[in-house]
Amino acid sequence: MDDITLRGIGRSFALAGRRLVALEAIDLDVPAGGIVAIVGPSGSGKSTLLRLIAGLLPADSGTVEVGGRPVSGPDPRIGLVFQEPRLMPWRTALDNVCYPLELMGRPRSERETRARELMVLMGLDGFETALPAQLSGGMAQRVALARTLSLDPRVLLLDEPFGALDALTRDRLDVELLGLRERLDATIVVVTHSIPEAVFLADRVVVLSQRPGRIVADVRVDLARRRAWGAIDEAASSRAAHAVRAALESHVAGVPPVPPPPARVAGEAG
């Protein structure tokens, strides 16, 4: 069953008196429990698409459904993680994780119990009383993820969640995200700039074109669900990465030419 269904989504913005079409005729289905990565050049409307699914922006045309019900505004079934942690600098890590439940008026004991569980899950135990300024970028993003998970969203939308982190931290968090997915059984859509990351995380990689953003490729990634960096099927991942890169190149001006497909080399080796 599909968990997220987009039909004929279009969205434009007014900019300096002109109309910029950000997204055009987007159809997308994400099955329950699936991970779809969205890649595309800057300005292709990736983040806009995520905000449309999250109900933060209305679409000009088309429909967004989650679990068969239309999304008409910010929705408790949908959790959103931004590129920046967006923690409140005046709150401790624990109080930041508590925030969504606080907004819903849950009693203090309940939200603290839940927040402590999530902090343990995210490897943050011991940092409950730390202020955001005292946390590393990776730690801060874990707190942000724990905060999003506090509402038990069935759909998790991540907008370049680890894009601002160093490569090592980013790789580690990618692995943790996959582990988390297994435990939480959430449907995930992740926007990323990184083709390797998209391929590593996703069951499918959706490629958007330059503005107006349209889906120009939908690449299946034939990898086992359980993945770790250095222990994935190189051939399958290279094939997927190459397909994504080729789709990007054919629809985007100014992308450097694709090097000889590494997929073939890796494939022969395997």
Binding site: A54, P74, D75, F82, R86, W90, Y99, L103, L131, A133
Partner: protein, 248 residues
């Protein structure tokens, strides 16, 4: 603690310098009394109960004026931050009101609202209003839009956005406005008492200078006003530490 000692040390040094000037210059007491004379007069003014009623009156005016000025300034700042149209419409008038010297406005306010406490509170409030409105506007305008989007994505109500994001995020600037307001409020009260009043530290200054020709009392009153201002300021600083806390 070290800071405290340094502050007290500097104070002692200034007092010594003051005493030395009096000794060397050998000024008559009604021109420049020395610190020992002033301290003695100060003590007598407290002991015979001269000072206290004036302190109570001025403190009441300052606190009421602060409450009115800080509240209206905050609300104005909030509206200005919310609406660019409101800012364009109102800010010329607000700036003009602030640019007009309070010394020139005070007699008018006394004329209209009488020589009772109301006119004093209004003058205090007026002088606190502008820094508070500006500080609030600046603070609210600088709230991270990312946090606001986060709040909206979590379905925070308008009220929750204000209480859980905007006001706490703007708290450092808002408290800065309160700090400026608290010192200006003391000035406002003294000016208001000069213009018309029968009690208060400003009245006592006039009495000491004019009728009584008691310069040591004038100095003792000035020191009382300074002490009042510093005490109120410190209370705001303590409140600020609690409200704003450590952030970065």
């Amino acid at each position: 603690m070290r800071d405290m000692l340094a502050v007290i040390g500097l104070g002692i040094l200034l007092l010594l310098g003051w005493q030395v000037i009096v000794w060397v210059g050998d000024y008559p007491q009604f021109v420049l009394p020395g610190p020992l004379v002033v301290a003695g007069r100060w003590w007598r003014a407290i002991a015979d109960g001269t000072l206290q009623p004036h302190v109570v009156t001025t403190l009441t005016e300052v606190l009421l004026g602060l409450i009115v000025g800080v509240t209206t300034g905050f609300v104005t700042g909030f509206l200005l931050a919310r609406s660019a149209a409101a800012e364009r419409l109102l800010s010329p008038y607000i700036v003009a009101a602030q640019a007009t010297p309070i010394l020139a406005l005070a007699p008018l306010i006394a004329l209209w609202f009488g020589s009772g406490i109301l006119s004093k509170v209004l003058i205090c409030a007026l002088i606190c209003y502008f820094p508070m409105a500006i500080a609030t506007t600046v603070g609210l305008r600088s709230v991270d839009p990312g946090l606001m989007e986060l709040g909206r994505s979590l379905r925070a109500t308008r009220r929750q956005l204000i209480t859980t994001i905007e006001v706490p995020a703007a708290a450092p600037q808002i408290m800065g406005g309160v700090k400026v307001a608290v010192t200006l409020a003391t000035v406002g009260a003294i000016v208001a008492e000069w213009v018309g009043g029968d009690r208060g530290l400003g009245v006592l200054i006039n009495l000491a200078r004019g009728g009584l020709f008691d310069t040591p009392l004038l100095f003792a009153t000035l020191l009382t006003i300074a002490l009042l201002g510093v005490t109120l300021y410190l209370i705001v600083v303590l409140a600020e530490r609690r409200l704003v806390g450590a952030r970065a």
